[in-house]
Amino acid sequence: MATTSMTMAKALNEGLRRALEKDKKVLLMGEDIGKLGGVFRITDGLQKDFGEDRVIDAPLAESAIVGTAVGLAIRGYRTVCEIQFDGFVYPAFDQIVSQVAKLHKRSDGVYTMGLVIRLPFQGGIGAIEHHSESPEAYFAQTAGLRVVSCSTPNDAYWMIQQAVEHDDPIIFCEPKSRYWEKGEVDLDQPPHGLFDSVVRRSGSDVTVIGYGSSVKTILRAADTAKSEGYSLEVIDARTLAPLDLGPMIASVQKTGRLVVVQEAPNTASLGSELIATLSERCFYSMRAPGLRVSGYHVPYPPSRIEDAYRPSVDRILDAVDRVMGYES
């Protein structure tokens, strides 16, 4: 296994490069993705190497980015749309919900909606408003879509390629606060399937599930918890829709305790979904109610106080304490 160390941003860039190399029908489209390489430089150098016809600088209109990607899909192309920031995906919401999610069905399977919508999501980079949102549940709810999120450079490298190759439309959520963190990338083979959840750390007391930027925070919490005598099992959901319940059920059946961590607010979130579903599947094992550690029910705050909004090690440990506090 030959691995190379690179940042998540670079891993995505390399993954996209391979996708472009492998299949001539793959296109990238988005605002400022050409010469600038995107505001996060994820597409750096790709227009230079693959041309303006394959790495397309878009006029500034998200509905059009997604809507034309639909037309390109009908023509047999696979477009990876970059939405510049999470908060700018909403102008495209109609095209995503009414068309991207439904055209495979409406055409009786004739159209393949093999497109990827890349969303740099979650907060933590000190940005201004609309640049730190967690809209994943809007998409997870929507039948016809799939939603995934990477948390490591290796996953980023492989998942973006797997997503491009997949025939269903995929909302690809990238934890922008982790773009610049390095990790080992195996250039030879993917660590997991695109729709697999992964146990990042085994433990016996509490199952803690998260995704995207939260995974690292949870792992840190697990370190601290260990020193306090609690053993956390950490699961990186990776696929948010569909959920890969297998490893989660196995874990909760073992630990009997569940905490879900997410930056999105609680209401009707992935966290709600995981707790509702796992409470059902693991009813007799649950020694405490599943708890969520989430963003608060407020618009994402100004970034000077975002740390108080985002799930922290402390808040995760507090939830762990609470589930451990239930009599069983």
Binding site: D53, D168, P242
Partner: protein, 355 residues
């Protein structure tokens, strides 16, 4: 009301008039063919309306009055062109070869689509106003990348012209010089909303502000629509970019069978437009200029009646799908929630699970 710039080659009375830029290239046989198309499409529309009244369709969106616009546009297409309709383009679908019974599936509420869009090169209906305009531009960008000499045409109404998606599609078509023709049927109404609320100036004038030509054609003059559309499609195919065609026409029927137009428009208006009927004027031309006989017209009517009979049979034979079909083609690949739903439905005995 009617712009002097309206392209017209045939008066409402069926007399030819000349136009500085356009002249009809059609033979008598071709015009007779268009006549036949229009008669059949109107018959299809009437039959569907009665099927709906008899409870056999959930809904119907009449096309009556717009046959000239749709047949003129539909017949201007080359086989390899691709079209993106809204929900009222039965005439265009007819030209593309979509079987009438397939057009009615959506209205019988047994599907959300109805035909194979790749086979007929005519996309599935789009109900959300304007969404399809962006699909057309995207498809056209694909045509460019393939280096193909094909054109793309999309249809929308005067009402839909106010939607952001339609307007963004103008921006994109211009930016990428996409081989696309925007065919706007200004039928004066968007349900109860008059087209004058969508724009105080003729809609075709929007195009130059985005950097491509707009043209208004008498939508009830199938000869003019044909020529105008043909040229626009040619321009698209040869790298000369997009065109917006505003076909000035009239929705003679209700918006749909659920609608009650007496609430918002006066009969007199409909009467005026009856005199501009797209079918009558071609018939007059054929009779006078090409000496087409009554018996020929009768044959067309008979053919249309036959089509209607078959259509009725086909529709009545369309039973509800097995409920379990709702799980098909939601995803291209396996999906646990689909499996779960399928299982539940079988367990509940709602479906035998044959699918």
């Amino acid at each position: 009301m009617i712009d002097e710039k309206l392209v017209q080659l045939l008066t409402p009375e069926g007399e030819r008039i000349s136009h500085p830029q356009y002249e009809s290239s059609l033979s008598g046989d071709e015009i007779l063919g268009f006549y036949r198309d229009m008669v059949i499409v109107r018959r299809l529309c009437n039959e569907s309306t009665s099927l709906q009244r008899q409870g056999q369709l959930a809904l119907w969106a009449p096309v009556q009055g717009q046959e000239g616009a749709q047949i003129g546009a539909g017949r201007a297409l080359a086989p390899m062109d691709f079209t993106f309709p809204s929900y009222r383009e039965h005439g265009v679908a007819w030209c593309r070869g979509v079987p009438p019974e397939d057009m009615l599936r959506i209205f019988r509420a047994v599907t959300t689509g109805g035909w194979d869009p790749q086979k007929y090169r005519h996309s599935v209906p789009t109900v959300v106003l304007g969404n399809q305009a962006l699909h057309a531009v995207g498809y056209a960008m694909g045509v460019q990348r393939d280096g193909a000499e094909e054109a793309v045409m999309t249809f929308f109404g005067d009402g839909a012209s106010s939607q952001g998606d339609v307007l963004e599609s103008f921006v994109w078509a211009a930016s990428f010089n996409a081989p696309v023709v925007f065919f706007c049927q200004n039928n004066q109404w968007g349900i109860s909303t008059p087209s004058t609320l969508q724009s105080k100036v003729p809609l075709y004038r929007r195009a130059p502000g985005f950097g491509f030509p707009g043209i208004r054609v008498d939508g009830n003059d199938v000869l003019a629509v044909y020529e105008v559309t043909k040229r626009a499609l040619d321009n698209a195919r040869t790298g000369n970019g997009p065109t917006l065609i505003e076909a000035y026409t009239y929705r003679m029927g209700a918006h749909t069978t659920s609608d009650d137009p007496t609430r918002y428009r006066v009969d007199a208006e409909v009467e005026v437009w009856k005199h501009r009927d797209p079918i009558e004027r071609v018939k007059a031309l054929l009779a006078r200029e090409y000496r087409v006989k009554g018996s020929t017209f009768d044959e067309v009517t008979a053919e249309a009646d036959l089509m209607a009979l078959k259509l009725r049979d086909d529709v009545l034979a369309m039973g509800p799908p097995d409920p379990i079909s709702m799980f098909e083609n939601v995803y291209a690949d396996v999906h646990p929630l689909i499996e779960e739903g399928r299982r539940e439905m079988i367990e509940l005995g709602i479906s035998g699970g044959a699918h």
